[in-house]
Symmetry: none
Amino acid sequence: MQKRVDPATPPAGQTPDLSTETGRELAADAAGAGKTPRTERGRKTMRAILDAAALEFGERGFHDASISGITRRAGVALGSFYTYFDSKDAVFRALVRDMSDQVRDHVAPGIRAAPDQLAAEHAGLRDFIAFVRGHKELYRIIDESEFVDPESFRLHYSTTADRIAARLKAAAARGEVRDDVSEIHAWALMGINVFLGLRYGVWEQDRSPADVADVIADMLATGIGPR
Amino acid sequence: MQKRVDPATPPAGQTPDLSTETGRELAADAAGAGKTPRTERGRKTMRAILDAAALEFGERGFHDASISGITRRAGVALGSFYTYFDSKDAVFRALVRDMSDQVRDHVAPGIRAAPDQLAAEHAGLRDFIAFVRGHKELYRIIDESEFVDPESFRLHYSTTADRIAARLKAAAARGEVRDDVSEIHAWALMGINVFLGLRYGVWEQDRSPADVADVIADMLATGIGPR
Amino acid sequence: MQKRVDPATPPAGQTPDLSTETGRELAADAAGAGKTPRTERGRKTMRAILDAAALEFGERGFHDASISGITRRAGVALGSFYTYFDSKDAVFRALVRDMSDQVRDHVAPGIRAAPDQLAAEHAGLRDFIAFVRGHKELYRIIDESEFVDPESFRLHYSTTADRIAARLKAAAARGEVRDDVSEIHAWALMGINVFLGLRYGVWEQDRSPADVADVIADMLATGIGPR
Amino acid sequence: MQKRVDPATPPAGQTPDLSTETGRELAADAAGAGKTPRTERGRKTMRAILDAAALEFGERGFHDASISGITRRAGVALGSFYTYFDSKDAVFRALVRDMSDQVRDHVAPGIRAAPDQLAAEHAGLRDFIAFVRGHKELYRIIDESEFVDPESFRLHYSTTADRIAARLKAAAARGEVRDDVSEIHAWALMGINVFLGLRYGVWEQDRSPADVADVIADMLATGIGPR
DNA sequence: TATGAATGAGACTTCATTCAT
DNA sequence: TATGAATGAAGTCTCATTCAT
């Protein structure tokens, strides 16, 4: 396990505004995987199914999850599922997108507010760990997209890495980090975030997110060589 | 998803041949998941099945893989599968163990031979990337163990992180790295290795393993702050 | 094999029709082994499956019977079976219960209407033989429960014997039979009924149920010693 | 459960003499279902398989029993089974015959030695119950023959009933029982024996075989009417 | 929209039997 | 005779998806 979602954010302004409705409804909607409900009642049902799906997929994994399990949790009839989603794959895709967006949104403000790049990475990791603690199903769902929907899996990490790389490049231009930062550094940072999120967010919580972020920020600042 | 197996590598060029018998029987055997064959003929059949399973699981993923697909590749009858393994899960477990052992064994020598810790990490990453290039199925199999056999998934990463942590501690004692290295650093290193292996080993090979390792070794030495 | 179900019988000629719906739904329902259908359509399908199962199990025995054979007879798709029953064992259990209830219910009235205990045993045996003639599958199904579901097998005979014993005790209190009647007599009577039902109900019908019952009633009245 | 084996015996002299070898070996041999072993070693192996089969079939029933289970218990290789028996059905048939013969032989002496018919029935029942206590698998095996090999099942009970009927007729001629004894009485007696053997031999042993036989002999002598 | 019954392809697993050694 | 690996037919059960109400 090491999938991750995104401890970083796009430059301000690129964050899609999800605040019109509940925020979460639109996110799902934006995924385009679900059929747009036309009534308020329909919107609620769809949201209930999506939330139930997060639980079901998180607990049992994609293949062991069942549509009937999802509708049972959502408290709707089996057939109603197909009123909102075309297939099992479709909810899953919508869900991956939904969660992916959620992390990004929850982590973005901290990064934007940081005074410099190292502080931004610190905030990003700290907030990311904190977020996954409240969303343990995140890993299982995003991880499994590798098998269910490889394209979105690959897209997810490519996009995330690109975002980090862009951030680093911009910081280099500002002189906040060395000027040879590259895609390799971006992938390394992503790997760090993902694994620390798994270890200190999902598995055990024996260290505070801030402590973990401190250690990493320090390592990024000066390396691990002898002082 | 980007699970990994072992941030260590065998001497370059020694990528083990997954299809020969030497050395691999013991690993499979050690897994204890299969029924030990009593004759030479049986031993060959079991190895054929295990190799076929690596291909099948690697190409199609656990759930889409089928026992009949495995036996077809292995050139044996469907029923023969059950002469050696109790279930689909059982081969999978045996396979995870088998591959996990392989990476570790092939990556260890390079690490041991390195003059100091930074060189060791360099060799480990370089050789690991080289290794996965020859074993693309590695990621899919180890990654998917999270869903098929969570215990071995967790065990795999815990063990690997512990190994790295022990290595760092020893290096700190020798004065080769800062003396406050901790488990957090170990997980960070593991994350780096796993993601770079995914990106530059499995996905694309637009940078040589050595180049990638150079960049990371440099980052570990002095951080990414401005020079 | 000569299991039996109930040494009591319904008024002669009232052999219940296994294929109608009246009265039988509740029995199956009471078994609790099936998933209760929520619609009328579902109720009919479930009944069709249960009736088809009686035929299939009766003709081929539990192990040679197949779910597909049952659904073929019932005229429904294979999968529909699992809409109503969890497993092959589950239908079988429901069926044993269903048939056990049927015999008891159809044999009880004759016993209740008899003027004294010997007349009751006469009526019971006579009606039982008549009943099994119309339900040849009864023996095979109840007999086989010994192997498929030992608990219900044992329960069936224990219950039946208890019922007979209670009947005898009550009759003794009324002075209709010797006052040392015991459980042993109850089991003996059950054995007689079961074997005569097998021989003169299922195997051959060379003697009328009433004739057979006459002989036994006489034996019970005075024994088989010389006159 | 109510199958039975035989609480009676044929007139002296009709009992096949099984005493040449171990007695049990010949019985199996006589069944003709097994291939005659030519060496002493072979004879032992065959006996081991037959005994193991009695355990396996008794514990798990015909269908759940497996050839490999039998050979495992017998301590021989799977393939060796087919050196002595043609099929699973064949061992089963041999076994039914073997056990059927055993009961008859163990019960015959008591019956022959009885001074009159009522005493003979008493001895027969008593010895039968005693026998099944030491051979609990008897019922399951003979019962299941109804499903595995209906002919021998039917033959078994027909033969037994005929033997009892012949006995009764002879006794009637001697004036020991009423002269209208018939096949019906024979089947009734068989039913009594079988069910009491099940209840007081296999299920629980809360009454001694002699006590049970006393009650039945008394019932046969004078009936169950008020004294 | 909502409901839940119906469908049927598909996959795992078992095990009697054969056969080469 | 003994061994145990190999075979493959057969059967149970799951579940995504459709559809009539």
